[in-house]
């Protein structure tokens, strides 16, 4: 069920400001692709263009093509709501719905979209929580509010919530940046498990993390502050970290940059 993403000539804007410029890349199915690069280089913006979340921001606009297998996400007549149902997202800060219990949080995507069969829901909730490695910790308090969990648990709850709707692709925007090393490890293990089924794209500031979890790595950079971010190169993670073809990548990875 995982799908390939083909991006060609993609630029994204905030009002008149060009945040990323002319990006083309392929994201392979059933693999983890990591985006690294300095702050403000447009990694997150680019990630958000992949499930049409960019246009939710005021003034957000996109030019170019994003092909999910053979369908252009930005083609005419494409419903952004169904795009987001196909391509899920996990955010930087854990954001469980504060009014809902743990159970309802996981079931939120299905419930809010009107898939209501109680028995199926139970099954989906259990499967998703198990998938997110959280089941054992919360199975006795499914009716407690989700905001009562620890940060790492909340983030895994958000992952469970995202995979409950069975997306084809999972986008993760710095999912571990607010977590301690143990929770981070839990999430990284989870990513390794999930890639058997999903296409995963992860934005990270932690290069060890990119090296640990990803199969392919893309390096983004910007010429100067205020200039649009660009894709410098994308390659096998091993090559990026050992023998990148562009000097800027090597400088960034070895810490000689900025």
């Amino acid at each position: 069920m995982a799908k390939r993403i083909d991006v060609s000539g993609l630029s994204a804007f905030y009002g008149g400001f060009r945040a990323i410029d002319d990006i083309s890349m392929t994201v392979e199915p059933r693999s983890v692709t990591a985006f690294i690069g300095p702050s403000g280089c447009g990694k997150s913006t680019f990630l958000r263009t992949l499930n049409r979340m960019h246009e939710v921001t005021a003034g957000g606009r996109v030019e170019g093509k994003v092909m999910l297998d053979n369908e252009d996400l930005y083609g005419s007549g494409v419903d952004p709501v169904s795009v987001r149902r196909t391509i899920g997202m996990v955010f930087q800060r854990p954001n469980p719905f504060p009014t809902m219990s743990i159970y309802d949080n996981v079931a939120a995507g299905l419930k809010l979209n009107g898939d209501h069969k109680k028995k199926d829901l139970d099954e989906v909730v259990e499967r998703s929580l198990k998938g997110a490695n959280l089941w054992n910790e919360v199975k006795d308090r499914l009716n407690k509010p989700g905001s009562g969990l620890s940060g790492g648990q909340q983030q895994r709850l958000c992952i469970a919530r995202a995979i409950a709707v069975e997306p084809q692709v999972l986008l993760m925007d710095e999912p571990c940046s607010a977590l301690d090393p143990i929770s981070t490890l839990a999430i990284e293990d989870l990513i390794a498990d999930l890639k058997a089924q999903y296409t995963i794209v992860i934005v990270t500031h932690n290069m060890q993390q990119a090296a640990r979890v990803s199969d392919r790595t893309a390096f983004f950079n910007l010429a100067e502050v205020g200039a649009p971010g660009k894709l410098v190169e994308i390659d096998e993670t091993e090559r990026i970290f050992s023998n990148p073809s562009v000097q800027a990548t090597e400088d960034y990875i070895s810490g000689r940059f900025g």
Partner: protein
């Protein structure tokens, strides 16, 4: 390493190490000073034969501030004295604000309970001679409940939807215009809202006086309050929750309905209740549009009704002792009504608040 540094450090002549301790006033000092100031204020007031208790109180307050600053300055030093100055001024301001409120409540309760009983709550003024005791507020109570209820039914949904539009959808000119007019509406005096409904509903459209006409005027007064408070509450809902919901493939309208509004529902309810409390005490529109009546009229769409504020005004205008008593009792009921609404709102807000 650090040891050698210590050893080589030149030995300073033993200066008295500056102590971190400073002389402090005892904990009971503020209270004691307040008592002293109160005693002095009373003493001076008695000696000088000042009539007004207000003057005694103001003198005591002033003395309290001056005493505190002087004593603290002498004992604790300038910085602490400034700290105590700010604290004591704030306490005085608090008392100045609370004393009238408490006295108003006390006065209303003390005078209101005289005639407030089951009979008073369940009988109207029909056939009661105003010069004599007896009669009640049943008709006015029904009128207030129905008019305020109808006004809420009109104003709450419109206000809520307007706020949702402004926060979730509104961009550009229309939203700016709506915000502007809501601000203007906030400042509309109640009598003007009443006159507007009078000219439109009663004079042009030729409907008669009714509780509903009054409810429309009250709704005009409620709407901006509901819009403002709901808007504030919706803006408090973190954007991350909206994004989380949208990223699950939930359409925007459902995100608003199932995620944004439930998160803010406590605050929204409080806002609506405050708006209700605000209009429950309006007498001007009732005077113009509901006409007032001594009889029970349970139908808000037909004929004159009364309402609590109007009843108070009417009884007071009668100008005799039994009527004054009834006015106080009605005022007490009105205050209790508003207070109960507020408590209910707080209860709902606490019950619905996001749990942790």
């Amino acid at each position: 390493m650090s040891q050698t540094v210590l050893a080589e450090a030149p030995v300073e002549p033993a200066q008295p190490a500056p102590s971190l301790r400073r002389p402090r006033l005892p904990r009971w000092a503020p209270l004691g000073l307040a008592a002293l100031a109160a005693a002095l204020g009373t003493g001076v007031g008695l000696l000088a034969g000042l009539e007004s208790r207000l003057q005694w109180g103001l003198m005591a307050a002033l003395l309290y501030v001056v005493l505190t600053v002087t004593v603290a300055g002498a004992v604790e030093g300038a910085r602490q004295a400034r700290d105590r100055l700010a604290t004591s001024v704030i306490w005085v301001c608090f008392l100045v604000a609370v004393v009238p409120l408490a006295s108003l409540l006390w006065e209303t309760v003390a005078r209101g309970v005289q005639v407030l009983d089951g009979y008073f709550l369940t009988h109207s003024m029909n056939g009661v001679i105003t010069m004599e005791p007896g009669g009640g507020i049943y008709h006015a109570l029904i009128g207030t409940l129905e008019q305020v209820g109808l006004a809420t039914l009109i104003a709450a949904p419109i206000g809520l939807l307007t706020a949702v539009y402004l926060v979730e959808y509104g961009t550009g000119r229309l939203a700016k215009a709506v915000t502007f007019f809501v601000d203007v509406m906030t400042g509309v005096p109640s009598i003007v809202a009443g006159l507007f409904v009078l000219s439109f509903w009663i004079i042009i459209l030729d409907f008669g006086y009714s509780g509903f006409a009054g409810a429309m005027a009250l709704a005009i007064l409620m709407m901006p309050i509901v819009v403002r408070s709901t808007e504030e509450m919706l803006r408090l809902v973190p954007n991350e929750l909206r994004e989380a919901s949208l990223a699950l493939g939930v359409p925007k309208w459902k995100t608003i309905l199932k995620v944004v509004l439930p998160t803010a529902v406590g605050g929204i309810t409080t806002g609506v209740m405050l708006a209700v409390a605000r209009v429950a005490g309006e007498s001007a529109p009732v005077l113009l549009l509901v006409f007032g009546s001594a009889q029970i009229n349970a139908n808000p769409f037909e004929g004159a009704q009364s309402s609590l504020p109007y009843y108070i005004y009417e009884q007071w205008a009668n100008g005799n002792a039994p009527s004054y008593d009834r006015a106080w009792a009605a005022a007490l009921v009105l205050i209790a009504f508003v207070m109960i609404l507020n408590l209910v709102a707080r209860g709902i807000a606490r019950w619905k608040a996001p749990k942790h």
